[in-house]
């Protein structure tokens, strides 16, 4: 059965107060078109899980996020994600820091259907500082309280291998997981090139999974080589074809990052007025993603197209500037 819907229809399934994980990381394979549609539809009080780089930061700027539990709020070489930085420094967003392995292991627990996994991930650090534990504040704003654990962590002595103090890391539960990928079958089977980031964990455990894909292909085609597939159709609820759906970020084997656009974003969004103007141009000034692509223009996008066999635009072929 085909699960192909429009971007607008898919994002209508995201509810205010949902816990949300975006696939991809930093500016790689981020569901930017989906994030822009969430802003366009005016979702509120979302709890952003994982990381807050390009796609997450757009949601923060758009006023959609009440709390963020994650490990990385930066756009890499383009600076700390400007909207969450500004909101953090004005004390107007709840942040609950966790570690990168915490996130991996929390999502592994979700995927495996177990309540917690033990590791030494954040032993000795301020991630475990009770004074910085904002989980109770997140619980005040989250729509579905069952998505959050009762405690951030529990310490205990390793009873099996004498590893000393270990941290019990609760499963990270998700209402929605939105991934942008290179290819999806019309029934939802997903193929990813480059880093899988957390997509293969989040999509297997989230209650609702939305896939936006550069290309939607016949399901029979993607099933010719199932070992190459990363998310089964059985875990996917909706599929949307969104070419250039991660612009201004990159998608391995498809396109490289749009550096001037990323720099412009970093510069514009140091103030809320700046973000609002940026959003007026690129989100509210566009009826949808096709309109956004028309505004960018074909020649701009063509310069970003990945060069085989590299999966990006190598500097010897001009590079991205």
């Amino acid at each position: 059965m085909s699960k192909v819907v429009s971007l607008q229809e898919a994002i209508q399934e995201v509810k205010d107060g949902d816990t949300l994980l975006f696939g991809g990381i930093v500016e790689d394979r981020r569901p930017i078109a989906a994030a822009m549609e969430i802003v366009r539809q005016g979702k509120k009080n979302l709890v952003l899980l994982g990381t807050c780089s390009q796609s997450g930061d757009i949601l923060v700027g758009g006023g959609c996020v009440a709390a963020y539990r994650g490990c990385y709020s930066s756009n890499g070489a383009f600076g700390i994600s400007p909207n969450i930085k500004r909101r953090a420094e004005s004390g107007t967003i709840i942040i609950d820091d966790i570690g990168h392995l915490d996130l991996s292991i929390g999502l592994l627990a979700l995927q495996a259907g177990v309540p917690f996994i033990a590791s030494k991930t954040c032993i000795g650090t301020d991630v475990l500082n009770p004074a910085y534990d904002n989980l109770p504040k997140v619980a005040e704003v989250v729509g579905n309280k069952e998505m959050l654990p009762n405690k951030k962590y529990v310490l205990m002595e390793d009873p099996f291998f004498n590893m000393g103090t270990v941290q019990l890391i609760p499963a990270i539960k998700l209402d929605v997981c939105i991934c942008h990928v290179q290819m999806a079958g019309e029934e939802g089977t997903v193929r990813i090139d480059g880093s899988l980031t957390f997509d293969h964990y989040g999509a297997l455990g989230a209650k609702k999974v939305i896939i936006t894909a550069e290309q939607v292909v016949p399901e029979s085609y993607i099933r010719q080589d199932p070992n190459r597939n990363c998310i089964p159709c059985t875990s996917v609820d909706m599929v949307v074809e969104v070419p250039w759906g991660a612009h201004p970020g990159q998608v391995y084997n498809c396109y490289d990052m749009d550096i001037p656009f990323l720099l412009e974003y970093a510069k514009s969004c140091s103030t809320q007025e700046g973000f609002d103007q940026w959003a007026d141009t690129w989100i509210f000034g566009c009826k949808g993603h096709e309109d956004y692509l028309d505004k960018l223009g074909a020649s701009r996008l063509e310069k970003l197209r990945a060069f085989p066999p590299y999966g990006y635009v190598p500097r010897r072929k001009g590079g991205v500037r």
């Binding site: 990381i25 994650g70 991930t121 032993i123 301020d126 991630v127």
Partner: protein, 268 residues
């Protein structure tokens, strides 16, 4: 490369820091490193070219034995994928740490204290309303907990090199035992590893064997031990320091022309 030395002023302090870091990585030729985002990626690219061609690079976004042909722009850049042995996701990128496979971690940060603890979360003010909010933990916490040793790279400024970090992101030698937050030696919590070296824009700092407090081991040409003292937020011991070998013209040329020709990392 020719052995011609670059004159002071012909390179920036950040370029010096990256070149000395690349030289230091010669210690890890043939070893497995988990490399963090920012300038560590640049120094690693230079080191693979000049000083440690057999260093095995792991990245937290899931590449095993990454061999990027050109400098990555971020920690998940397509440039890291192409040419790697294995490309999975972030969990598989991090499990080599918790599996105890990683010989050294290499990270940047915003603040380092005299015990080698690193902060990449926030500076000043309060956790819930910081003066300056930073990127957060990412791999920095995991590298500090699990790698057999860590190497830290950061500009040397009084506010950055301090008595104790505002937020302990990457555990150094003296860490916090919860729930009280008592400062204890990392071994007491069953943690192996610990920082071996802090390479700054002024010199190379190491840690005393007994009390694990940072001291100056080398200062860069054009920098005096007094300069380092004046730019350090605690009373750093400089009595054992000697001057580092000068930078080579070719090291700077390769850094500028071959590693970062577009000046993406704003080193100059």
């Amino acid at each position: 490369m020719t052995q011609q030395y670059a004159k002071i002023g012909e390179y920036t302090p950040v370029e010096a820091m990256v070149v000395y870091a690349a030289r230091f990585l010669a210690n890890f030729d043939g070893k497995k490193g988990l490399i963090g985002t920012g300038l560590p990626l640049v120094a690693t690219q230079l080191a693979k070219m000049l000083y440690s061609p057999n260093m095995v690079v792991f990245v937290e976004t899931g590449q095993a034995d990454a061999n990027p042909e050109e400098l990555a722009i971020s920690i998940m850049d397509s440039r890291l994928t192409y040419g790697s042995s294995w490309q999975m996701g972030d969990p598989e990128g991090l499990y080599p740490l918790s599996r105890n496979e990683i010989d050294f971690g290499f990270i940047g940060g915003a603040q380092i204290d005299k015990y080698g603890n690193v902060n990449s979360t926030f500076i000043g003010g309060d956790y819930n309303k910081p003066l300056k909010r930073l990127a957060g933990t990412a791999g920095a916490v995991d590298i500090g907990v699990f790698a057999k040793t860590t190497v830290i790279l950061m500009a040397h400024q009084k506010r950055r090199v301090c008595e104790f970090v505002d937020y302990l992101t990457t555990p150094g030698w003296m860490v916090k035992k919860w729930p009280e937050g008592t400062l204890v030696r990392r071994e007491e919590l069953g943690m192996q590893g610990g920082p071996s070296c802090f390479i700054s824009s002024m010199g190379i700092c190491k840690f005393n064997d007994d009390d694990k407090i940072m001291y100056l081991d080398r200062y860069f040409p054009g920098i005096t031990p007094e300069d380092v003292k004046a730019n350090t937020g605690f009373d750093i011991d400089v009595s054992r320091a000697t001057e580092a070998d000068p930078i080579l013209v070719d090291e700077i040329r390769i850094l500028r022309e071959e590693i970062d020709p577009l000046n993406i990392y704003k080193m100059r």
